[in-house]
């Protein structure tokens, strides 16, 4: 495992949306899932997760409700809303285009300019 990567501005929202798109999760679960699917390469500052969750909920992309956690504790679960699903799709596309564009720039050789 290499050095954890710092998150690019704005990517946390995308990661959260992706994480909850796989099924409802509580905040701690989201954190674990992101770490798990990124192969522990992405390190999220725990405190920054919650303001992002609240913001997304405020935007209507995710919705929350209280349920029971795996060890029978009361926890707040987040799930993707329809609007969130649309947002995830378009954000993903945008991210792909952006990544391509940046990759292209970085691949550029002196001859191509």
């Amino acid at each position: 495992m290499g050095k954890p990567l710092d998150l690019l501005q704005g990517t946390l929202d995308l990661l959260i949306l992706k994480a909850v798109s796989l099924g409802p999760l509580h905040g701690y679960g989201i954190l674990l899932r992101i770490q798990q699917i990124s192969g522990e390469r992405l390190q999220i500052l725990q405190g920054s997760l919650y303001p992002a969750l609240y913001r997304l909920e405020q935007q209507g992309w995710i919705a929350s409700e209280w349920g029971e956690s795996e060890n029978r504790r009361r926890a707040k679960f987040y799930r993707l809303t329809a609007a969130g699903r649309r947002a995830l799709r378009s954000e993903t596309e945008q991210w792909g285009r952006m990544a391509d564009a940046i990759a292209a720039v970085l691949r550029a050789t002196p001859e191509e300019v």
């Binding site: 509580h26 500052l45 405190g47 919705a63 929350s64 707040k76």
Partner: protein, 879 residues
């Protein structure tokens, strides 16, 4: 999904605490879950808890960020700011107490005045569609000194109005009477009104019990009916519902009680009619008139009211009435033609009090403004000593908006506390005011703190919060961070910020305006008290006696009064006793037009006319300047005599004796005496020319006994009452009043105005001095270091004191000059309230200036003295 968003928003907005709780729970869950994981991985629990917290980051910051992300509910953020403001204020109790008390004074006073304005000017009159009710008058133009209210129409003209009018749906006549009433063996004075059939229909008020007077009751020969007022019903009949059908004697005549009016209905009362000021109407009786009386143009006893037809305007009614009236013949020998005047009820009832109330309102708003600027000044002083707190918070990332919001929340907390306190005080004062019932303010008894007043108070409190908080907040938010940090401990702010000084100057200027206003009123009042009334009120008592139908004709009337006077004079201790038809300052008026021999008849000059018995002038202490008083020889059938006033004699017989000249008034009369001018009707106007007729020649159904004696007034009244009872048990004696009381009552309205405005002036003075003192004290505290250095360098105490005093003097001299200039312009708005005093009266302005200088110097002296006690060693160490 908008639904989810809405739900989430609603949840937060409706129950901010719940959102807060859920957030706490969610974060706790997170920490515990992570701790569990660390423990499972083999870490000791305490270490795991520490790690979990550490990796989470600042919990408080996270929460704040969450709150921001969630979007705080408006209410919640306000509540949070208020809580914060409240905590800060509790830490700074001195400031908070001063500010809250100041605003409570301002808001309380404003609330009281507004609740009176609300009752008198804003609230609807207690009649159906009161905006369509009008008074109808029929004045003769060109006759001076007769108020419009005295010009009721004569019966004949009223009947024509009623017949011809298209724009009025109903009209009624009513009188104002006082009767000797007796019910259940008890005799008492009852004030009331004789009314024509449409009276209650025009006003649109239904009786609470039984029925009202109807048209059929007013025909002669029908049973006489009476309707009781709620007050009389409760006080004399114990609120008994079985009172209907019972008998009541009024001036010895039986009346049947047919109804009881609801509480609050007491028309005509208050200032609607000349003779009902301050009285309530106990009962109403049907006014029975013969067909001849109904159309008689010689009967003019009633006042008229009417109701506009729906859709009809006042102008239409006025035009119609004028047209109808212009077709009438002149009712008098001379050629004056009557006019018709239609007045809206509101104007007729509230009338002159509107201006007074608006002046009060303006004055109290000035007081409120002063209170606000005072609190703003205090907050400014506090803000500049909190500069560091502010800059530290700003440096730590608090946004400018956040700081302004917090300062505003502080002033809002103060204003709300002040508003609550002020409101409580206002409720108490309003109760007191209603109990005291001051000075002929109509409808003041209806004053209460109702929803409108409450709303007003809340609004005023919010406005004071903005007024007193915005300036400090604005100036705090403008303050330069770098500057503030750089200055750190140094306190070089000289004499307070410019803003603060400007506030204090403005405040003092407003105070001067108020002081000048109340000073002018005080001076007017003193002048009024000192005015030559023409009679000497000391140890003179007046007692009204009204005879009833049995005493028809002057002979019987005279016989009664003669024997009453003889017996009264015989009471040991009575120096003099006499009678007059309208006692001075008793509210009654009688005016006539006469011809003076040797002069052309002038219908436009009117004379105050009184009928008096022999020895009246002696009893009243009115100086006899020439000739003689009336005596018992001036009786019916003898040479008609007349006594005139000094201004009468001066006008018609300048430089020669008036005695022996002739005047035509119900025959040719010889002038037998000249007496001093008497203020018969009001204190604050020079009396018109006056004539006196012998009561034994004119006769009168009602008269006031005037008794001069060193005995206590109550003893005299009791003695006279028993004399009257002995002469005729059916007669009730009206209330006794000393002439001193009458004089003081005649000045009561002015006294009330003076007291109110003086109270406002005093509050303003107090507030602005507190403001000045606070500013000076604060500035001395800020300059402690500087003063310390000066003293260390050898400055004398007197020099230090001079330094501070000069700074203070610059402020109050500035405020004073500005205030005097403003007052010079503003006081003319109150010219109508002044008596024999110019609106720019120099002595008053001088007195205000001197008073203000003295007190302001006092307010500056104590901080200055404190400055001289600065110990250089200590003050320098403070740095």
């Amino acid at each position: 999904m908008p639904g989810a968003r809405l739900r989430s928003w609603l949840r937060t907005a409706l129950d901010p605490r719940r959102a807060e709780r859920e957030m706490d729970e969610e974060l706790r869950f997170h920490l515990e879950a992570y701790t569990e994981e660390l423990v499972r991985a083999g870490m000791p629990r305490s270490e795991a808890e520490r790690r979990a917290r550490l990796e989470f980051g600042g919990i408080a910051q996270t929460k704040e960020a969450c709150r921001e992300a969630r979007g705080l509910g408006v209410l919640e953020s306000l509540a949070a700011d208020l809580r914060h403001g409240w905590r800060l204020l509790r830490r700074d109790r001195g400031f908070a107490a001063l500010a809250v008390l100041t605003l409570a004074l301002g808001i309380g006073a404003t609330t009281v005045v507004f609740s009176v304005v609300n009752a008198v000017l804003l609230r609807d009159l207690p009649y159906r569609d009161p905006e369509r009710l009008v008074f109808l008058y029929e004045p003769l133009p060109g006759i001076p000194n007769v108020p419009l209210e005295a010009w009721g129409p004569n019966n004949g003209d009223f009947a024509e109005w009623q017949r011809q009018s298209r724009f009025l749906s109903g009209m009624a006549l009513f009188t104002t009477n006082a009767w000797n009433a007796s019910a259940g063996g008890e005799t008492f004075r009852a004030t009331g009104s004789r009314v024509t059939g449409d009276f209650f229909r025009v006003l649109g008020v239904a009786p609470a019990l039984g029925r009202a007077v109807e048209a059929r009751d007013t025909e002669p020969g029908k049973p006489r009916v009476a309707v009781l007022g709620d007050v009389l019903w409760r006080s004399r009949f114990g609120g008994d519902r079985g009172v209907l059908g019972k008998e009541l004697l009024l001036d010895g005549r039986p009346y049947w009680i047919v109804g009881v009016m609801p509480p609050g209905f007491a028309f005509p009362h208050g200032a609607e009619c000349l003779e009902t000021r301050g009285k309530t109407t106990d009962l109403w009786v049907a006014w029975q008139m013969t067909p001849e009386q109904r159309v008689s143009r010689n009967d003019q006893e009633g006042n008229a009211i009417g109701r506009l037809r729906p859709g009809a305007t006042l102008q239409q009614a006025q035009a119609e009435m004028s047209a109808i009236t212009s077709r009438f013949d002149s009712p008098y020998q001379h050629h004056l033609k009557a006019e018709a005047v239609v007045r809206p009820f509101e104007q007729a009832i509230v009338g002159g009090s509107r201006r007074l109330l608006l002046i009060f309102l303006a004055a109290v708003l000035l007081v409120l403004l002063i209170a606000c600027s005072n609190v703003a000044g205090l907050a400014l002083a506090r803000a500049s000593s909190r500069m560091q707190e502010m800059s530290v918070r700003a440096a730590l990332g608090a946004s400018r908006l956040r700081l302004v919001r917090q300062l505003l929340a502080e002033s809002l907390s103060i204003a709300l506390a002040g508003g609550a306190l002020g409101l409580a005080a206002a409720i108490a004062i309003v109760r007191l005011l209603v109990a005291v019932h001051p000075a002929n303010l109509p409808r003041v008894e209806e004053t209460s703190v109702d929803a409108r007043v409450l709303a007003f108070t809340v609004l005023v409190s919010l406005a004071t919060a903005v007024l007193s908080g915005l300036l400090p907040a604005w100036s705090a938010s403008r303050s330069n961070l770098h500057e503030a940090m750089k200055r750190s401990g140094a306190r070089g702010v000289k004499g307070g910020s410019r803003l603060h000084r400007a506030l204090i100057v403005a405040e003092m200027a407003l105070t001067i305006v108020l002081l000048a206003g109340s000073g002018l009123l005080i001076r007017s009042f003193l002048k009024l008290r000192a005015v030559d009334k023409g009679f000497s009120p000391q140890s003179t008592v007046s007692i009204g006696v009204e005879l009833y139908g049995r005493y028809d004709g002057p002979q019987r009337q005279n016989a009664f009064f003669q024997s009453l006077l003889e017996r009264t004079r015989a009471i040991p201790g009575v120096e003099e006793a006499a009678a007059i038809d309208h006692v001075p300052l008793g509210g009654g008026q009688s005016i006539s037009i006469i011809e003076v021999e040797g002069y052309a008849f002038d219908e436009k000059t009117s004379f105050e006319t009184r009928s008096v018995t022999p020895r009246y002038f002696a009893a009243m202490g009115i100086p006899l300047l020439e000739g003689r008083e009336f005596d018992d020889s001036d009786a019916a059938g003898r040479t008609p005599a007349i006594i005139v006033s000094r201004s009468f004699a001066r006008r018609y017989f300048p430089g020669r004796p008036a005695l022996g000249h002739y005047v035509h008034y119900n025959g040719r009369r010889t002038i037998v005496g000249v007496v001093a001018d008497v203020r018969q009707y009001e204190l604050d106007a020079a009396p018109p020319m006056q004539i006196y007729l012998p009561l034994w020649q004119t006769g009168s159904r009602a008269a006031s006994l005037v008794v001069r004696s060193a005995l206590p007034a109550e003893r005299i009244a009791a003695a006279v009452r028993s004399l009257v009872r002995n002469l005729d048990p059916g007669l009730a004696v009206a209330e006794m009043q000393t002439m001193d009381d009458r004089v003081s009552e005649a000045g009561a309205e002015r006294r009330f105005q003076t007291i109110v405005l003086t109270a406002f002036g005093a509050i303003a003075l107090f507030l602005s001095l507190v403001g000045l003192y606070a500013l000076m004290a604060w500035s001395v505290a800020q300059r402690t270091a500087e003063i310390g250095i000066r003293m260390a360098l050898g400055a004398q105490r007197s020099a230090v004191m001079g330094l501070v005093l000069r700074q203070g003097a610059a402020l109050w001299l500035g405020g004073m000059s500005l205030g005097l200039a403003c007052a010079w312009g503003a006081t003319r708005w109150m010219r109508s309230l002044l008596f024999e005093v110019q609106a720019t009266d120099t002595p008053t302005f001088l007195a205000v200036a001197v008073l203000f200088c003295l007190v302001a110097a006092g307010a500056c002296y104590f901080p200055a003295r404190r400055a001289t006690f600065v110990d250089p060693a200590i003050s320098l160490r403070c740095e």
